[in-house]
């Protein structure tokens, strides 16, 4: 699936998006896989209360299932308007 990063999450990880092959069942499982990869991922995902997640462009929670999803995005709380 495609994993996207925005704002300081993008900066910390260093790339705006990447293709990830995973069998993760939930967003949280995917987060654990990413955290285990490298320090920059561990740093970006250190405090989940400072992060939001969208699955296939819809805001959701970290315990949401992701099997069959095409696009997971991680970002800080939004500041529009």
């Amino acid at each position: 699936m495609d994993v996207l990063y925005f704002a300081w999450v993008r900066e910390r990880i260093g790339i705006p998006r990447e293709r990830v092959d995973t069998n993760a069942a939930t967003v949280m499982d995917l987060v654990e896989e990413l955290r285990a990869r490298e320090e920059r991922y561990a740093a970006a995902f250190a405090d989940l209360s400072a992060l939001r997640v969208a699955v296939d462009q819809t805001l959701t929670e970290f315990d949401a299932p992701i099997s069959g999803s095409r696009e997971i995005a991680f970002f800080p709380p939004m500041t529009g308007g």
């Binding site: 996207l4 925005f6 704002a7 300081w8 993008r10 969208a54 462009q57 819809t58 805001l59 995005a73 970002f75 800080p76 709380p77 939004m78 500041t79 529009g80 308007g81």
Partner: protein, 146 residues
């Protein structure tokens, strides 16, 4: 219902006038405009990142919900992204309803959702560098009204 996400500036006067002139059955039109503040703290620019695709979907959904809840005749959301200078307009919303209470409430609802449910992230550029704007507790709080 009209939702636009764009890098280019928009003409607030023209947009407001066009919106209001097509509201003959409404009676009450409320607009909100957000401007990059030109305050004496050395702000050189505001950069706005967004999530192409999700942004348009989120704004359309917010506008649809407002239109339904307050029986709006029309609703408009324009939101810019990219680099903006102090004094530039960031975004606008407009709502047209038969009565003023509905038009005001719908515009406030649109703003409250734009602030913390539409995928935009603001970064302030000053002489000292770039800082991501933090989300405000008050903005999250504001959503509970709806």
């Amino acid at each position: 219902m009209d939702v636009r996400v764009q890098e280019a500036p928009f003409d607030f006067g023209v947009e407001a006038a066009t919106f209001a002139s097509g509201c003959a059955s409404s009676g009450a039109v409320v607009t909100f405009t957000g401007i990059v503040r030109d305050v004496a703290d050395g702000l050189k620019a505001m950069e706005i990142e967004h999530y192409p695709g999700m942004t348009e979907a989120a704004l359309s959904q917010i506008a649809s919900e407002a239109k339904e809840r307050w029986s709006l005749e029309k609703a408009l959301i324009i939101h810019r992204h990219g680099r903006l200078a102090p004094g530039e307009m960031i975004m606008m919303v407009a709502a047209a309803a038969p009565h003023r209470k509905d038009a005001f409430e719908a515009a406030e609802f649109l703003m409250d959702f734009l602030k913390s449910r539409a995928p935009f992230w603001k970064r302030e550029i000053t002489r000292d560098g770039a800082t991501w704007v933090g989300a405000k507790d008050a903005d999250e709080e504001a959503l509970r009204r709806w």
